[in-house]
Symmetry: C2
Subunit: 315 residues, 2 copies
């Protein structure tokens, strides 16, 4: 059942929060004609001013409550920790039958924070586009960010299936592959594919910054050996990531426990010179990489040397 590519999915879209994700959704919606009107707002006057200048929104009201009036789909694009407050601010202004969604990297905590603030006549279909860059703000967004990326929908149990279908069509037509799972399972999957990787990247960059035996200038100079990839991850938005860890505590701590257990075993292999054990692990991890490239979630181009000076190599 292919959607009609020419008709909009909804009449009026409201985006609350114009950072990397919010501004990219607005740009993609305009580029693909998915809504007749795109309304964007942000709690920061500076950001709103910038959104007006960039011109990817039809309307840029000052208040979230104003932005949601008559909207059919309202997407909360603020850091995870702000969603509860926003829901309380907009709750009374939502049109009956409208659909609220979000883009947060955490789902169970967002549902607990948002759902109680919404009127019974409004649907809530939490979503998580698994895409991003290490940059933030309205200038960092671009319309193609979600193309060929996954978007996970994690509706609360018993949510209206017609509302889920609208959000699914919206993300499909933005160019994403949509998968539906329970909020709890989403939080577990993302803990290992995103949250713990960010945490250990932040951690090793912090460790390197605090050493007495190696200077910060040496760390920077010789980062091409592997470290600099961690610094890219550790340059992601601090507010967003603080909120992720505060709101997905259980799943993150569970996955971190597994990581620590495995790292202790690896540490032991090094201490005791178990070359076969190391070789076996280092070989096994290549299979996952191949899977990621085969499924189009990554290019095979060598990236350690950085593209600017690296011809594409596949092997």
């Amino acid at each position: 059942m292919a959607p009609k590519q020419s008709s909009p999915v909804i009449e009026r879209l409201a985006i609350i929060g114009a950072g990397l994700i919010g501004s990219s959704i607005a740009r993609a919606t305009k580029a693909r004609g998915l809504a007749k009107t795109v309304v964007v707002t942000d709690h920061s006057p500076t950001v709103r001013e910038r959104v007006r200048a960039l011109g990817f929104a039809d309307e840029v009201p000052d208040a979230a409550a104003e932005a949601v009036v008559d909207a059919d789909l309202i997407i909360l694009c603020a850091p995870v920790g702000a969603n509860g407050d926003i829901a309380r601010e907009i709750g009374a202004w939502l049109k009956p039958g409208s659909i609220v969604s979000d883009v947060g990297s955490v789902k169970s905590a967002v549902i607990a924070a948002v759902q109680p603030a919404l009127p019974a006549s409004v649907h809530f279909v939490p979503a998580h586009p698994v895409a991003g860059t290490e940059y933030s703000g309205p200038d960092a967004g671009f319309a193609e960010l979600f193309e060929n990326r996954w978007c996970i929908l994690a509706p609360p149990e018993g949510e209206d299936q017609a509302a889920v279908a609208v959000v699914q069509e919206f993300w499909t037509r933005i160019g994403s592959n949509v998968e539906i799972m329970t909020p709890a399972h989403h939080d577990l999957v993302l803990a290992i594919t995103s949250h713990v990787p960010h945490l250990i990247a932040y951690n090793i960059v912090g460790t390197a910054a605090d050493l007495e035996t190696v200077t910060q200038s040496e760390v920077i100079k010789f980062s091409a050996g592997g470290f600099r990839d961690f610094t890219r991850i550790a340059a992601s938005d601090p507010t967003m990531w603080r909120d992720v860890f505060l709101n997905n505590k259980e799943a993150v701590l569970e996955m971190l426990g597994r990581f620590n257990e495995d790292l202790a075993a690896l540490q032991r292999m090094i201490r005791w010179g178990d070359g076969d054990g190391l070789f076996e692990l280092f070989t096994r991890t290549r299979a996952i990489r191949r899977g990621i490239i085969e499924q189009g979630q990554e290019t095979p181009a060598a990236d350690f040397g950085r593209r600017a000076s690296t011809p594409d190599k596949a092997q």
Copy 2:
């Protein structure tokens, strides 16, 4: 004192091991005319055949002992653990006054393994070009790999300064920035900028592969959230990395101890909901990233979305 760009640095260069690094050195030497003759060999007949086909070497003898005859500079480009055996194989065939060097990511252990096997008339100037990609083998190499990257020289105490100067000129004219430090300090610096990052990347990819609650297919699908950058690092050559960890045990275990200590503190912040502590760390780590970009060791282009579909963005 700028080197004469037109004259070769040496007459005859021998490269033992034609993987990513060895084949890149051979290509760069030819491209920049740094040696009159480039001899390349490899212990694998298949690799030697491939080197002959690729055409970046003037001579491709079968044996290392044959390759080093009359060479002025001999660069060992095999995995770190193989260097001792190679030194014993070539020791008797080396020309008096010639210079042996290497490219290993570990220096103290290599010196301990190689130096006793070399005649007193031969100089040993260990080097480490801090550059690479996640690919291996003679097809993966390219002449520009070392441009604007750092190459560390770590000569044993009391090594002949004229020999050090030759190796320094060689790497400078390949396009690298050369820094000289003690072998022990090199091993500590690389433990934090390269070895521990690789170890934790291998580790988390292994953890993800072993989970029961999240399928491997889910890990692959949703890797765009951060995990896939770790898989690139964890796709590096298993033999090379096994040897690195076996040969830089003390420094790696020391840095890993610091990493673990810091991770325990971070874990505690999450458990107790210390948002300010998390925010402070996540902000601090951005400064190191800025330093790396400012020093030209990285481009500011957003890379999470991957270049193919991402316009360059700087902010």
